[in-house]
């Protein structure tokens, strides 16, 4: 299934992420999460990378859950301190729904990250997306790891100057990240300018039409899968609105 046409994967990503934004009720979100997990494993996402990302985002996820639990006061109170309700049913449900939403987005990103860039570009080209735009999108996506490497290099260099990050207070950490962000962004801008010059020097955009050896073709399996996904999407949307 990992060799499924990138357009099918893109369609699946659109369905998952749209569902994640539309659904607010927990059972629907849980169903979507199952559907998303099934796709993630079938479409050959890099599970190790996904696990790593989940581990990295775990503190943020827990913070989001905590914020919902603390600030959503509606619903049946579940836990009290003296007479003050600390955890309510609605807060817990909303927290869980938001967590699932983030999880679905991460899984969708993992599936697209596991796809070959050239195949995605070829798929965009078949979808009549101008090459310039699709190329820019792919370059932007490629810049994310570069950005993250620059940032982690800066943090390593700083620690090797004797700074113990764990001992810094939250305020100092935030101030530090703000200070580090500027050179990292500046570095990314410099790299993008160099890349633009290099691309131009190689004749990028010199011809009105770009040809490619690589062509992606929708097989019967891809069409069937797209059809199934389409029907599932319509049924889920209809079900969500008509059978609350």
């Amino acid at each position: 299934m990992s060799r499924v046409d990138p357009r099918v994967k893109l369609f699946w990503v659109v369905l998952c992420t749209s569902g994640a934004l539309i659904f607010v009720r927990l059972p629907w979100m849980a169903g979507l999460l199952l559907f998303c997990l099934l796709g993630t494993f079938s479409f050959g996402a890099d599970r190790k990378a996904l696990r790593g990302r989940l581990a990295r985002f775990l503190p943020l996820f827990l913070l989001i859950l905590l914020v919902h639990i603390v600030f959503v006061r509606a619903g049946t109170p579940l836990l009290f301190i003296r007479e003050y309700p600390i955890v309510t049913f609605d807060g817990l449900m909303r927290g869980a729904t938001t967590l699932m939403r983030f999880f679905i987005i991460l899984c969708s990103a993992a599936v697209m990250a596991g796809e070959n860039t050239r195949r995605v570009l070829a798929a965009f080209s078949k979808m009549k997306v101008p090459y310039l735009f699709s190329f820019m999108l792919m370059i932007a996506l490629r810049f994310l790891p570069t950005f993250s490497t620059s940032f982690s290099d800066a943090l390593i260099a700083l620690q090797l100057r004797g700074v113990e990050l764990k001992r810094l207070s939250l305020v100092k950490k935030l101030r530090l990240y703000r200070d580090l962000l500027l050179p990292v962004v500046a570095d990314a801008v410099v790299k993008s300018r160099v890349l633009a010059v290099v691309m131009e020097a190689r004749g990028f955009g010199a011809m009105p039409r770009r040809t490619s050896y690589l062509e992606v073709r929708m097989t019967l399996r891809d069409w069937v899968l797209t059809g199934v996904l389409f029907v599932l999407g319509i049924v889920a949307l209809g079900g969500y609105y008509f059978f609350p």
């Binding site: 764990k166 200070d179 570095d187």
Partner: protein
């Protein structure tokens, strides 16, 4: 007792790919210089990153002053070992040369008087005294490298690991760098330099060469 970084039965492999680095024994002592040489992709930078704790060994151990790097945080290692990246821009964060020098002290709110004097002394010594208010983005390659070295020395580490410090430097800047290395050795710091440059190898001809070939480290 000689203070050192010592390596015993070190094995390291990246999660992706099948590259493995192994080093049965290595010792870097204070006041001495070691040259890490080898072809591109042989594992020199990996070895350097293991020596300063950026990478942690899969097997064996790297010990700094008798303590395994796996038991130390990067901040703790940083107080003993300084690392100069191949591209010094990666370790410069502040807007101006002066702010860069006092960046860590500001962050940690250290005693301003002492750090100011130390920063000024280092800049003067490395020929950057006149550039205090210059933006770090507008420094030349050689100046950036000297500044990066100055910022490392602000923490007074006992060891320095320099990753190809002569790359991109003209003759004049290379000579300045060699003189700086001589000074640092005289101060008693241990230095490991990754290099391809014959000139540097000849300049420090008496220094032991640590050869890295396809991940195998030998003296």
């Amino acid at each position: 007792m000689t203070v050192s970084i010592s390596v015993t039965d070190l094995v390291f492999g990246y999660q992706k790919g099948n590259f493995t680095l192994s080093c049965p024994h290595l010792r870097l002592e204070q006041g001495k210089l070691g040259l890490i040489t080898g072809a591109n992709g042989s594992g020199k930078t990996t070895l350097a990153k293991l020596l300063c704790g950026i990478l942690r060994p899969s097997g064996g151990s790297v010990q700094i002053l008798g303590q395994a790097t796996s038991e130390l945080s990067l901040g703790e290692i940083g107080r003993q070992v300084g690392y100069l990246f191949q591209d010094p821009s990666r370790q410069l964060f502040a807007g101006t040369v002066w702010k860069e020098m006092t960046f860590v002290d500001h962050l940690l709110e250290s005693e301003q008087g002492t750090s100011t004097k130390k920063a000024q002394d280092l800049l003067d010594r490395f020929g950057l005294g006149e550039l205090k208010s210059r933006s770090t983005y507008f420094l030349s390659g050689g100046e950036k490298q000297r500044l990066a070295l100055c910022t490392i020395l602000m923490g007074e580490p006992r060891f320095l690991i320099l990753d190809e410090p002569t790359v991109g430097l003209d003759k004049q800047n290379r000579v300045i760098l060699y003189d700086i290395l001589d000074d640092l050795l005289r101060e008693g710091r241990g230095i490991a330099v990754i290099t391809h440059e014959n000139e540097l190898i000849e300049r420090f001809a008496g220094a032991p060469q640590i050869k890295v070939e396809r991940g195998q480290v030998s003296l």
